[in-house]
């Protein structure tokens, strides 16, 4: 039983944050303190630094890509490309990893991205048998369905950088910095294998899965291996984050992309943000439910904390939104069950194993009582958050239907 969890006085995070969160003597968390830099740093000076940083990577002949840019049908990709093509005037090679849980809206946004920004793009598709095997194993053992996606998204750009000999990889924001203030913007933190293993992959790289699961063999996981240090050094591979040089504000950025590039958005049951994660049927659904089970809080808390820090909602409004959204039922479990080849009862049984008993009390069969972080967090009920805080222009199914879109020709 967790007795005394301390919460930030400003945002909604607690010391129980999985990335590690530190409260200072005034009760303000490291994430909020680093967020203060967004209004203190000289962003035009930082932009100049970025220009200088990318300069040596410009292909002189113009016949080679200047950088690798990981993209998807969501996640700030439009804005990232807007900065890279329009402002930095770099010539990127886009890479994207097939999640399998693709929404029609996400595919539409991805096509939109490729065409509007007129870019070359590479797709990585790992065979579905291996992906299902890994997902089944990690679901059972870790209560996670996202390992292959996180592993693929974070490694495919690095492998491409080595294979195509394009050393510079440009990412958007650094999750550790944005959420818990793991680094200052001024540290100019870059991509590291350590961070990926520690925080993206829960401490398990591809080969580590082989020692945990005897259901998996090398042929299932070799594609997720991080390139050797020797290869990285030979090519000079380097991953930078635009968020260190630009005042990163996902809501504002998405809205700019909606206006200028026709980025499409959708609403979710489990959060008030309508801009991010529209490319996946599971991220804000089963994956988010698992987060609530294991961590005692879910994505809506991340969204609320972010908007509190930007001053667009108050802390009480944030907490009210969280309590409103976090218990909403998922809507796409049946798609996942069909894909993985398990039935509803089996799925519920498995995921119940992963409820963190510090946050969940088992009352009787099928009845669990939640005493998660939002219940422990002090705050008053506060309404008044406009339904138009985030605007939706479509749905995940985008008139096509409730099904995972298979990557194929013409996508």
């Amino acid at each position: 039983m967790i007795n005394n969890i301390n919460f930030c006085k400003r945002c909604l995070y607690s010391e129980a944050h999985p990335l590690g969160l530190i409260l200072d003597s005034e009760g303000i968390c490291s994430g909020c303190r680093i967020h203060e830099e967004k209004d203190k740093l000289d962003w035009s000076e930082r932009w100049d630094k970025l220009e200088k940083l990318v300069e040596p990577y410009r292909s002189i002949s113009g016949e080679q890509y200047d950088c690798i840019v990981p993209v998807s049908g969501a996640q700030d990709s439009h804005f990232i490309l807007h900065l890279i093509k329009n402002k930095l005037k770099l010539n990127p090679l886009l890479v994207t990893y097939n999640k399998y849980f693709n929404t029609p809206l996400g595919i539409k946004n991805l096509v939109n991205l490729r065409i509007k920004f007129d870019c070359d793009i590479l797709y990585q598709n790992i065979n579905p048998k291996s992906v299902r095997k890994i997902t089944k194993s990690t679901l059972h053992q870790f209560g996670s369905i996202y390992w292959p996606i996180l592993a693929g998204q974070t490694v495919f750009p690095v492998q491409t950088a080595v294979r195509y000999k394009v050393p510079l990889i440009i990412w958007g924001a650094h999750q550790g910095l944005e959420q818990v203030g793991m680094f200052s913007h001024e540290h100019e933190v870059e991509m590291t294998r350590r961070y990926r293993k520690d925080h993206d992959l829960m401490g398990y790289e591809a080969d580590d899965l082989l020692s945990v699961f005897n259901t998996l063999s090398e042929e299932d996981i070799w594609q997720y291996r991080y390139p050797d240090d020797k290869d990285l050094n030979e090519i000079g591979v380097r991953g930078i984050y635009l968020g260190n040089y630009v005042r990163w504000d996902p809501k504002a950025q998405h809205e700019l992309m909606i206006d200028e590039y026709d980025y499409k958005t959708a609403s979710f049951r489990r959060t008030f943000d309508k801009y991010d994660f529209v490319d996946c049927f599971n991220y804000m659904d089963l994956h988010d439910l698992l987060k609530l089970y294991k961590q005692g809080y879910s994505k809506v808390t991340d969204h609320a904390s972010r908007e509190i820090r930007f001053g667009r909602i108050t802390r009480d409004q944030g907490l009210t939104l969280v309590k409103n959204y976090e218990q909403k039922p998922p809507e796409y479990l049946d798609l996942f069950q069909k894909w993985l080849g398990i039935n509803q009862k089996e799925l519920q049984f498995i995921i119940n194993q992963h409820r963190n008993l510090s946050f969940w009390k088992h009352q009787y069969p099928d009845k669990w009582v939640f005493n998660g972080l939002s219940s422990m967090n002090q705050g008053q009920k506060a309404e008044g958050v406009s339904k138009d805080l985030f605007l939706e222009s479509s749905t995940l199914e985008d008139k096509i239907g409730k099904k995972y879109i298979v990557f194929g020709k013409g996508v």
Binding site: V162, R193, D228, K230, R238
Partner: protein, 264 residues
């Protein structure tokens, strides 16, 4: 003919607070980093000359050494010498830390509380296995040694550390005020340090730049320990070794196992 063949060491340092690897700033502000095992394993892969683990909240909380961390680390297949400090207050604890896989131990509080135990540990484990940790600051030509638990500081005078020379192998001098500040290490700490027949490891505000070259050239200095600054870029240890390749340090090493470029 090269006269000095023993290389100067670059020590990758991991500060641990509350079970988390953290970045430490001036001994009072902290930012999270992640799981200690991930950070340590990474330093091993990068080829640090030694890995130093300082568990900073053990003594103040009377928790003893972090044995469970050491057990976890023992299963990581590390190939790099490991130094552990934090919470060692008895002979049994010191011996157990070595028994769990550390090659050397650091003592800080014990130097103030019971020097006799340090002496006994030195006899049991060998003087080479013991490092004395001293958080220090320079003030008008005097070096002050901080006792971080009761926050008192002792001005050092020549001769004060003479009984250390038979007991510890090296002194780890921590510029605690400048810890975490880029290139912040105060040179005066080395310049004004009292005469003592012991090698010095320097830590606190060492990141990059010409200052480190000078420090490495000083014959009192056997090693440089770096903490926070190793966590911002890939291959930090290798980059560091490249920058100071003329300073008698071991070459950098880039691990190879499943090459994409040299497919066999």
């Amino acid at each position: 003919m090269r006269l000095v063949l023993l290389k100067k060491r670059i020590i990758g340092t991991v500060i641990i607070k509350n079970g988390w690897a953290v970045q430490s700033f001036g001994y009072n502000r902290y930012l999270p980093l992640g799981k200690p095992e991930c950070v340590v394993e990474n330093l091993d892969r990068w080829g640090a000359d030694e890995i130093l683990i300082l568990s900073i909240d053990r003594s103040s909380n009377r928790l003893g050494p972090d044995f469970s961390l050491l057990e976890k680390l023992a299963s990581l297949q590390l190939e790099t010498p490991l130094i552990y400090g934090g919470g060692i207050s008895t002979i049994e604890e010191g011996v157990k830390v070595i028994g769990l896989g550390a090659d050397r131990i650091c003592v800080d509080s014990l130097l103030h509380d019971n020097f006799n135990i340090v002496r006994k540990l030195s006899e049991r484990l060998g003087r080479q296995a013991i490092i004395g940790v001293m958080p220090v600051m320079a003030n008008n030509g005097i070096i002050k040694w901080l006792n971080y638990r009761n926050k008192s500081s002792l001005p050092l005078k020549d001769g004060m550390l003479d009984n250390y020379t038979k007991t510890v192998s090296e002194l780890l001098l921590i510029d605690f005020l400048n810890e975490g500040s880029k290139d912040g290490f105060n040179n005066k700490i080395l310049e004004d340090f009292i005469d003592v027949d012991l090698s010095l490891i320097l830590f606190g505000g060492l990141s990059d730049g010409p200052k480190i070259k000078k420090l490495l050239a000083n014959k009192m200095v056997s090693a440089i320990a770096i903490g926070n600054f190793l966590n911002y870029k890939e291959h930090s240890i290798q980059n560091f070794k490249r920058e100071y390749s003329r300073s008698n340090i071991r070459d950098s090493y880039y691990k190879e196992r499943y090459s994409l470029l040299n497919d066999k």
